[in-house]
């Protein structure tokens, strides 16, 4: 196990290096740079920048440096000083921007994950037990519909319903009077009032997959001889299922829990943007649109690193549970 762990961790290092280069490269791919975006934005507002001033800024920000120099400056600052650079767009340190949005992002992510599991796992179990029943088909159909409807559309529709029928203020996680208020019970209540739309939208889309996996796993287990034996020995059906097949069927979810880490962090970019939530998702989108290199790079890097770390955790968990993994691979 120790050998496997060390091996696995060593694999992570080159992966991380490659990921950091690729994320920096991707940000640089589109034509233009932050400054041309600025010019475009200013023009849209009816202003313009003097070309000479633009050139001077270009030199100042090192935008015309070759790719490797820019990359090296960026990554060495992160590794040596934990400095993710300055966001051009916000003129603030990237790390500050990210950390102040993190608590809500994580809250949204965790709430969504719990919601998804709370809906999908029971639904999957139920549809496995009642295979080929009307309930099974209903659950499947609903799950697939939720999967098929684009998230942003669902968010818009719910936002519109909120507006048209309940006169609700659309957008954001707080009502106007609470946004900058200090934390209080009332503010928490207000948060919960707004949180359900994104949680519902993001959560529902993820349920179909989990329902199907859970259903398939349960079906595998339900008819195995040990279950039949337990049933034959007179164990009540409910207890039987809870005690034996369910535990085994849950295994894949436990071993992939690490993969949820990045999705918790990215705060569902599109939905959060449509609903103007104060999470990192809209920040990432805005950064990409305006080619705010350091900000976009910082967020992408963190998400990528978390994915790698999450996979590592999953792998280790899996190896701990299933000896075949560590003997076969390492």
């Amino acid at each position: 196990m120790l050998r496997f762990t060390i091996h696995r961790i060593l694999h992570v290092i080159p992966t991380l290096i490659i990921i950091s280069v690729i994320s920096f490269f991707i940000i640089q791919l589109p034509p233009g740079d932050f400054l041309t975006t600025q010019v475009a934005a200013l023009e849209a507002q009816g202003e313009s920048i003097d070309p000479a001033q633009l050139e001077a800024l270009r030199v100042r920000y090192g935008i015309d440096d070759p790719f490797w120099i820019q990359y090296w400056k960026w990554i060495s600052n992160i590794l040596l000083h934990g400095d993710f650079g300055l966001s051009f767009q916000f003129q603030r340190p990237v790390i500050d921007l990210i950390t102040e949005r993190l608590p809500l992002t994580i809250l949204l992510g965790v709430a969504t994950l719990l919601f998804t599991w709370a809906i999908a796992l029971p639904a999957g179990i139920y549809s496995a037990i009642k295979q080929h029943s009307a309930a099974d088909y209903t659950i499947s159909v609903v799950g697939f519909i939720a999967l098929a409807v684009p998230n942003f559309l669902a968010a818009l529709v719910l936002a519109y319903i909120g507006f048209a029928y309940f006169g609700q203020s659309v957008g954001g996680l707080f009502s106007p009077e609470y946004v900058n208020a200090p934390w209080s019970l009332a503010k928490v209540g207000d948060l919960l009032e707004h949180l359900w739309i994104p949680v519902l939208v993001i959560g529902l889309a993820g349920t179909a997959g989990i329902i199907r996996t859970m259903r398939a796993n349960m079906l595998d287990e339900l008819y195995k001889p040990y279950v039949t034996t337990a049933r034959a020995k007179g164990l009540p059906e409910g207890r039987n299922i809870r005690k034996y097949p369910l535990r085994i069927a849950l295994n894949p979810f436990i071993s992939t829990v690490g993969w949820s880490i990045p999705s918790i962090f990215d705060g569902e970019v599109i939905v959060a943007t449509v609903l103007a939530l104060g999470t990192t998702g809209p920040l990432l989108l805005a950064a990409l649109k305006s080619q705010d290199m350091f900000l976009a790079g910082g967020i992408i890097l963190i998400i990528a690193v978390l994915t790698v770390v999450g996979t590592l955790i999953s792998d280790l968990l899996l190896a701990a549970v299933d000896p075949r993994v560590r003997f076969g691979k390492a």
């Binding site: 233009g32 023009e43 000479a52 001033q53 340190p93 809500l104 659309v170 957008g171 106007p176 103007a276």
Partner: protein, 651 residues
């Protein structure tokens, strides 16, 4: 982290504002926790000279009396609907976190400001303004006893600091901005005493007063020396500045200086405007809170301190959410960021949700086609430079059809030139080549020797089919661009000209233009205030819509780009005359010459303009202009209604 930041700013606010801030907090709490909001106008009649929230702070001993906060001669502002009451929070929204437009609109300040009709200046922070007759020396006398929002005096020393240590400093501003250059150098400032400021240019600068009224520019002349000098190495030890810079996560001192100087994101920076940011939208909440400046120096005719409204809240939303909020009556007074295409939704909900949709004028902008007169394709360039060719293209467009199809016949049909509302308007311009006339178009093209091939497509002189590409940013906020250009595609097909559409991202659009890599730029062209932004009319830089290579040539004094032909040189000469005119008459003559030349040559082919700009005002807000003024960046957008005099109706 967030919470920490927030509680710190709260605490410092409490320290600064004491009981007043506590009173707001209590007011906020009662208003939120109980269903009925207290009447914020209690005991707040026309005899009250200042906002009750300030009176409380005076009573608590945190603020001096009103008389000590106002200058000797406060600026008097006419109130639209007579005496008003203090209080309330105005809700607004925007889609862009970094856009300080709310401050520019509601808290703009300058030595001068636009008059009510936006066609001339009013002395503002300056009590008197004089200039010499060669437009090289501009003298201001400041009002006596002006104060920053933290109570410190505002004097000519602040202006000297701004000019010498910021605007003329090559680290803070590497290249002189358009409004602060004097040939190859930058203007200088002299301050003979505490209240007098003299700006000196060596070359005449005829647009100086206009720029001093331009809210986005005038504000940049006003920097609080007493606050900012701690971040400037000229006044504070370099090592100390560097340490603070590094601690704040910036790379160089000027970045940190710029950050501290930003009135939209830094609540600590003292201001002179009607409102000050108390929490920035920059944070995770995406909501900015603005609060009245207790030292604001304008009063109504009864001597009551302005503004009437205590607070403004600005939320950053996606466009769809913003539209829904507007249609829900959640935004009290807003024009900027509202799209014409949502006007129907606003109108439908107006009565139910308690607001009114006003129809203001937009910026006199027209969706237009700008041919690239400096095209790298020599054959095309020669064609584009033929007035007959441009006239033919213009005649081939059925604008009535466009208008009827896209805007229900309500749109504005003319060429993109200064309108009657502009000083530069020339009688009878803007109507040339506008009628739909295929015969004329065809005969003009025939006259240029552009024969039709077997398939009916005209051939260029070099035998290639005449195929053009229009480059544009797809947008539905104004006249829907893709729809309009698709129709033009059909019209031009009739005269044997093939048009392809190329919608691109705004960044790529700017990039391709400055690379001089396009045939036609499809863009909205503002007509009236082209002197404050020449990019559409005179190629002065590589971002020009009608000749980037000529623009580059102009900007680099001939070192780069392409030398323009005589007619473009004539435009540039007139532009130089306009900028450097010694008198208004010279300036207007030069401007009108530019308009006339554009009119005769139709360099930009106009399609259609929006009939109006929707502006939403909830029923409880009074004092907003209903005479359909212009929502224009140059006039501070909503600021054109002098928002310090708007107020909430008593509840």
């Amino acid at each position: 982290m967030t919470m920490e930041h927030r509680s710190i700013s709260r605490r410092s606010l409490l320290k600064f504002g004491g009981g007043g801030a506590a009173a707001i907090a209590i007011f906020g709490l009662t208003a939120c926790s109980e269903d009925e909001a207290p009447n914020p106008f209690d005991g707040n009649g026309a005899d009250v000279k200042e906002s009750p929230m300030l009176t409380e702070r005076v009573d608590a001993g945190e603020l001096p009396e009103l008389a000590e906060r106002l200058p000797a001669t406060p600026m008097e502002v006419e109130v639209m609907d007579g005496p008003a009451q203090y209080g309330g929070t105005l809700n607004r929204a925007q889609t862009d976190v970094g856009d300080a437009g709310a401050l520019t609109a509601f808290a703009s300040v300058g030595l001068l400001e636009w008059n009510w009709d936006s066609d001339g200046y009013l002395p503002s922070l300056a009590e008197e303004f004089t200039k010499n007759d060669t437009n090289t020396e501009f003298t201001f006398v400041l009002r006596e006893g002006l104060r920053w929002s933290d109570g410190e005096p505002f004097t000519s020393a602040d202006l000297q600091f701004t000019v010498d240590d910021v605007l003329r400093n090559e680290t803070t501003i590497p290249s002189a901005p358009f409004w602060f250059s004097d040939g190859d150098a930058r203007p200088t400032v002299e301050v003979p005493d505490e209240r007098t400021v003299i700006f000196r240019y060596t070359q005449p600068f005829a647009l100086f007063e206009k720029y001093m009224c331009h809210p986005a520019v005038s504000n940049q002349f006003l920097k609080p020396k007493h606050y900012l000098e701690q971040f400037h190495p000229t006044y504070t030890d370099q090592a100390e500045v560097d340490a603070a810079t590094a601690a704040a996560g910036f790379d160089s001192w000027d970045q940190y200086f710029g950050d501290r100087d930003n009135w939209w994101t830094n609540p600590e920076r003292p201001v002179l405007g009607a409102y000050q940011v108390v929490s920035a939208a920059n944070a995770q909440s995406g909501t900015a809170n603005l609060e009245r400046n207790p030292y604001f120096w304008k009063v109504d005719p009864d001597g009551r301190q302005l503004p009437f409204i205590d607070q403004i809240q600005v939320q950053v939303l996606a466009q769809d959410a913003l539209d829904l909020r507007a249609a829900n009556g959640d935004l009290n007074f807003q024009g900027n960021y509202l799209g014409y295409n949502s006007a129907q939704v606003y109108l439908q909900n107006a009565e139910d949700r308690g607001y009114e949709m006003l129809r203001w004028k937009n910026d006199a902008t027209l969706l237009s086609l700008c041919l690239n007169l400096s095209s790298t394709d020599e054959v095309l360039r020669e064609l584009f430079l033929e007035v007959d060719f441009r006239a033919a293209l213009s005649h081939a467009i059925d604008r009535e059809d466009l208008n009827a199809t896209l805007l229900g016949g309500l749109g504005d049909v003319r060429q993109p030139l200064a309108t009657e509302n502009s000083d530069y308007y020339v009688e009878g311009t803007g109507q040339r080549f506008i009628e739909f006339d295929l015969d004329t178009a065809n005969s003009l093209l025939d006259g240029l020797g552009l024969t039709r091939g077997a398939d009916g497509v005209r051939l260029r002189p070099d035998g290639q089919p005449l195929a053009l590409v229009v480059l544009y940013v797809d947008s539905t906020a104004g006249v829907p661009t893709a729809d309009a250009f698709t129709m033009v595609q059909r019209y031009w097909g009739e005269i044997g000209v093939t048009l392809s559409l190329r919608p691109v991202d705004p960044t790529l659009y700017a990039e391709l233009r400055s690379a001089n890599d396009f045939n036609i730029s499809g863009t909205t062209v503002p007509g009236d205030d082209f002197d404050l932004e020449p990019v559409w009319f005179i190629p002065t830089g590589a971002n020009s819509h009608s000749g980037p290579a000529y623009g580059q040539w102009y900007a680099s004094n001939g070192a780069e780009g392409m030398e323009p032909p005589a007619e473009i040189l004539a435009l540039m000469d007139n532009w130089d005359l306009l900028r450097g005119a010694a008198t208004d008459e010279e300036r207007l003559d030069a401007g009108r010459a530019i308009v006339t030349q554009h009119d005769e040559n139709v360099y930009a082919i106009g399609l259609l303009g929006l009939p109006f700009q929707p502006v939403i005002v909830t029923n409880d807000v009074r004092g907003v202009r209903d005479d359909e003024p212009k929502l224009s960046f140059y006039y501070g957008r909503e600021g054109i209604t002098k928002p310090e005099q708007i107020s909430f109706l008593p509840a």
